[in-house]
Symmetry: C3
Subunit: 346 residues, 3 copies
Amino acid sequence: MPARLGDLVARLGGELHGDADLLIEQVASLDKAGPGQIAFLSNPRYRGALATSAAGAVIVSPGDGDGLLRPHIRIRNPYLYFARVAQVLNPEVVPAAGIEPGASVHETAQIGVGAHIGAGAVIGARAVVGDGAIIGAGSNVGDDCVVGAGTRLYPRVVIYPRCVVGVRGIIHSGAVIGADGFGFARDAEAHWVKIPQIGRVLIGDDVEIGASTTIDRGALDDTVIGDGVKLDNQIQIAHNVHIGEHTAMAGCCAVAGSTRIGRRCMIAGAANIVGHLEIADDVMVSAATLVTKSIVSPGTYTGSVPFMEHREWSRNFARLRQLDALADRVRTLERQLASLQSIKED
Amino acid sequence: MPARLGDLVARLGGELHGDADLLIEQVASLDKAGPGQIAFLSNPRYRGALATSAAGAVIVSPGDGDGLLRPHIRIRNPYLYFARVAQVLNPEVVPAAGIEPGASVHETAQIGVGAHIGAGAVIGARAVVGDGAIIGAGSNVGDDCVVGAGTRLYPRVVIYPRCVVGVRGIIHSGAVIGADGFGFARDAEAHWVKIPQIGRVLIGDDVEIGASTTIDRGALDDTVIGDGVKLDNQIQIAHNVHIGEHTAMAGCCAVAGSTRIGRRCMIAGAANIVGHLEIADDVMVSAATLVTKSIVSPGTYTGSVPFMEHREWSRNFARLRQLDALADRVRTLERQLASLQSIKED
Amino acid sequence: MPARLGDLVARLGGELHGDADLLIEQVASLDKAGPGQIAFLSNPRYRGALATSAAGAVIVSPGDGDGLLRPHIRIRNPYLYFARVAQVLNPEVVPAAGIEPGASVHETAQIGVGAHIGAGAVIGARAVVGDGAIIGAGSNVGDDCVVGAGTRLYPRVVIYPRCVVGVRGIIHSGAVIGADGFGFARDAEAHWVKIPQIGRVLIGDDVEIGASTTIDRGALDDTVIGDGVKLDNQIQIAHNVHIGEHTAMAGCCAVAGSTRIGRRCMIAGAANIVGHLEIADDVMVSAATLVTKSIVSPGTYTGSVPFMEHREWSRNFARLRQLDALADRVRTLERQLASLQSIKED
């Protein structure tokens, strides 16, 4: 889906410098781009790569455009602009509307105009699939679910009964939405008695959910994923969690039950957040950090350990078992030294 | 499925105070419950919430019931009782018995009375599906597997050949039971040669397995999950692991090969247990802890690091690389000070 | 599939001692093996178990064979030999060639000779399935994918369009290959704008991929998994990662975007590697280690914390928040003591 440089600017804005008729076939990185491709420069560190790039055109900030002879587009946020150009050049491949052979659609389900139901997909009783939604092959939309207009489920997604997914969402393969939360009471013999999980999962609009991510239904109330949230692969969201609008979470994070995460947070990969916490808006959590207390202020929070060559690690980390004793010894030294000094001054 | 308060007590025990005819429609939390709902108080910390709750009835301990005017049930373990009330009010929704169109059931498979085989499910040769078992849409029960009576597989579960699941189990979507354990020998060129994994997975009765949890088959012997074990989502159980009866494990834990975990253990989320260990009965492991040695005594074991504001973390955790040197410096100081003191005393 | 001891040696090499006609029915561990079974001894620590074992035959190193009366095979690498014997005795059970009822194969797809397409599997447009490949029930091979000859997809694997899997591969159930990488630009309102992920996943020959492992497609270029790589269950490989030939990675690891891992590396379970790093060949990373910097030399690298009884942990780990201050106090003590000593010496 190639586009003229001039047409891109007409559609997406920015200041065109150079040949408006240049045909752009694809986006690429500065170092890999060829004549028919457009790259971007957002970090001044890569100005050297710009000079040597074979890219037919580039997207740059106004400052980086000064004196640039190559065809380019000047815009305040080149990376964002690049994302939009990439979308124009790479429209989503969508399957034809209709219900494929081998799909099972309950007679009481409502299927919207232009929706696609893939081979082997199952749509439950009273489920509603919005206009233009795509239900991938082998996906399962449970009884009484709602899947919003334009939302795409890739193959083999499972949505348990009564859950709601907003419009324009993307759910990748293997994701499981609405399985039972992990809730049990212990009886006198230390056997676990299941607490029925009667809440739902409510997912807002423009949400993307990664492959094999699991979001459990609420125990009594609902698990809620706000508009614009982006969840990467293999994330685990426990029952009753709330995730605020436009928060992004990288792969393999886990959030335990009833925790509320604010808006616009960025949680790096493999971070874990324990249950019943409140995380403020605009919080950043670093990779592999375990969050064990509520966070009330925006900022970046970290709790990982440095890795080392194994022998060095053994030497240093064994000391962790004696850290409290070491602190006591330092306090003792301080007292003794103070006592020596006071004697000397006498 | 509403019930009279008196009928609940007749069925589940406890001491009724107030109107036996009160119709209870649903369970709810103290702060959200309305007139037709029943809540519980198990932690005296929430007595304030009890006073202001609009719940039609409550479940309380005998002590908390003193002087309570609202209809209530007194019982020693209110939370456990609440679980049982929730089960009565929320009976599981089960699909009709029979084999749905599009399921593939091998001619040598045995399907029990009242069992349900969902659309697109595959039941292998000589597999046995017990009475009243539910095999969700698109699930796969391999050749020579046994799925016990009353066990439910939600959609898209895969059980590899020869594995056994006990009665009254629940396996959530995306779980994979019996894939090959990770076993290879290295040849002279450092290429990996696969060791066939010829063991099975044996799962006891009353076991619940979460969404996208994976339990590998044994290498030579079997991987064994005891009766009453509860596994949350995205847990990884490697080959030859044994998990004792009534142990519970929260989301994203991993247990490496051949480790044996005792009975009634509670393993918090994202904990990892390395291979070839023995963990005693009644052990609790805290969230995100890496267990690297066997544990012989009951108790709680922890090994996570505190998280901090990022700058504070940088300052403190950089010191971990110098911890051994710091301990050496403290020892040197102690010697020097002792020497100074002895001189002074001379 | 039993075999005579002499036939095993004729086929696999090694030095036979004892009855060539002994019929071997199965492999087993030293302590469980019976008369018709063959075990191995590779670690001299287990020589005691050898003495008491009921194994009909054993595989040992030349040194351990000295004076051994039991039928045995002497070979330099007994564990590797054991793997090969296990393969001979346990040939893979493969389904019959052909397309099962309920599979959906696009009319433009090419299906190789002897390939098996399971019930409910979906093969997309222009996809190529090699000779003798096995596509498990309910698996999904996207448009324009290539699955090499002899490669096996277990049930419910999803491969997104345009990805390539080499020959003789094994992909376990629930794995998702080629879902979108996690790439977004942030707009002025802090909303995320999706960057189309136009790269592919290219998987080499002889690769094994575990259950529920996810490998994302590249953003602009490709994600590449080298020949002979072995990935365990629930691993997450982000976009643009390269993994070198014959590297093995245990369960629950995650590798963030654009990182390049060398050849023959061994990454233990639950390790996380952040993005944009270079890891040299022959690097070993210990369990649950977070790798935050490139590694240029072979060796073993570790960054986990010791676990302790919870009270002991509280005492010691609270000190981590004061580690920088503790180091400052030690420095102060050193200065004060030096000053005292110099005074004394004056």
